[in-house]
Amino acid sequence: MKDFCKMTLTEAVAGLRAGTFTSVELVRALIEAMEASQSTIHAYVTIDGEGALKAAEEADRRRAAGEDLPLLGVPIAIKDNMNVVGQPCTASSHILEGYTAPYDATVIAKLRAAGAIFLGRTNMDEFALGSTTQTSYFGPTENPVARGCIPGGSSGGSAAAVGGDLALAALGSDTGGSIRQPASHCGIVGVKPTYGRVSRYGIVACASSLDQVGPMTKTVEDAALLMNVISGRDPMDATSLDEPVPDYTQAWVGADAQKPLAGMVLGIPAEYYGEGLDPEVRARIEEAKARAVALGATLKELSLPHTAYGIPTYYICMTAEISANLARFDGVRYGLRVPCDDVIEQYKRTRAEGFGAEVKRRVLLGTFVLSSGYYDAYYNRAQKVRTLIRRDFEAAFAQCDLLLAPVTPEPAWPLGVYQNDPIRNYLSDVLTVGVNLAGCCAIALPAGTTAEGKPVGVQLIGPNFGEMMLFKAAKALELPRA
């Protein structure tokens, strides 16, 4: 039998269903691997071995009693910004150290209802602000494939856990690329669903108009399976939409065996293939394009003319929302408090001690762009530029079914580099933020490696609620797993 840790989600579900092994055996093997890797990879902020084993015993009992659910007894790793009742939820911040979640986020409740087990909370950039996982208060995570390098971020712990065989699958959240970019750097699949596809209730809010939760998995099929469970309208999140949830694992069923992409037009946005693109990344993307053509797709060169305005627009909209969302961390209802007789001083000291440097930087920028005298020039204007960016995507999807592009301009870089150069880090999001600003969906999947063995990902971008098409194309383009 295959090593438990190397299994895909789909294989684990099948094995449990067939009675080949138990949930307890599966969970025990994973916990052992997770704990052994904490001093090196450090994918997790906390591991709940005892709780997970208890849940696994219960799942095995339920299965023995004849119950069957889509994920019964299947462990899923969860990013540390999603509330799981009774577990810590710190968003990798000192200000939330010691906080215990009083309720389940909707995505967690849905996974729980499907039988899933929550065995650990994955490391992340503090409050999801970063693209390297180095801003975590609890220390960085190392890329399990490109050793010595960043795993990407902000969902770097989830990506490292899945890419390093320390989880079967994980959930991440994507505000400007935080699922797709680490998935690309760690050689796994990551989906940023359409805004409104998945509930945000119970997620520590980063930028509410951009955030979406999505799966991070070893295969396209595993991602589709998780999307089936977490998608759908939630009365607790007014921005979640009442669109039907198809069976995403059927997306590729019935496709032609030789030419599964026949009739599909893939747009190639010129601006995503600019000068800053690493030559090895470019080479892997060109190979993916050639595979798509061989599988029956037609390529169409087109333009997303406002791409260059994506990063400035994103960093205005996102930091404005951050500054408002993080105002709740004031030492009153939960989290750290630095006591003081004066209430304003107490807020200031609590936040000074509780937030890390990148959080402070972004809160300051967001406060500035929203402040009296500057609001119109920055925040209001950025929201209008956001309209131009959204229209770019709408015009593109009038000419093609999906867009095909790199995920990141370069492969994973060494840990510790560029840490005091915020703009350098912000620019690495240039190929992912447009999707969040426009609200559409995208998937990152492995496209091979550099000569050094660093993973390179390819991104497919779809129109709103175009996930079925995304999964169909991704399944066809997926490379065989090593």
């Binding site: 937030f355 402040s371 950025a382 929201q383």
Partner: protein, 93 residues
């Protein structure tokens, strides 16, 4: 570009900054503001704003009471409590 007044912004953000942070963030944020300033190159006259990822607004639910978190659960994470209330410094003179 308009001047970036780090002290004013830090006060609005309710953040105490050390002298080093004041200097570091002050210069970094001036560079970042100068960079995001490039959106001023675009003509946005008459364009609607995009506020979030889709254009659905005004979602209502029935106005009926629902079970919330019990008080003791809701206040369990508070740094300082007196029974089921959260204690804070005096805010009125």
């Amino acid at each position: 570009m308009a001047g970036f007044d780090i002290d004013r912004v830090a006060h609005l953000a309710r953040l105490d900054l050390t002298a080093e942070e004041r200097e570091l963030f002050g210069s970094q944020l001036e560079t970042i503001v100068a960079y995001v300033e490039r959106i001023s190159q675009l003509d946005v006259e008459g364009l609607p704003a995009t506020l979030h990822g889709h254009s659905v607004n005004n979602i209502f639910r029935a106005d009926v009471p629902v079970e919330g978190l019990p008080t003791e659960v809701a206040t369990a994470n508070a740094p300082e409590r007196i029974e089921d209330e959260i204690r804070m410094p005096r805010v009125v003179e």
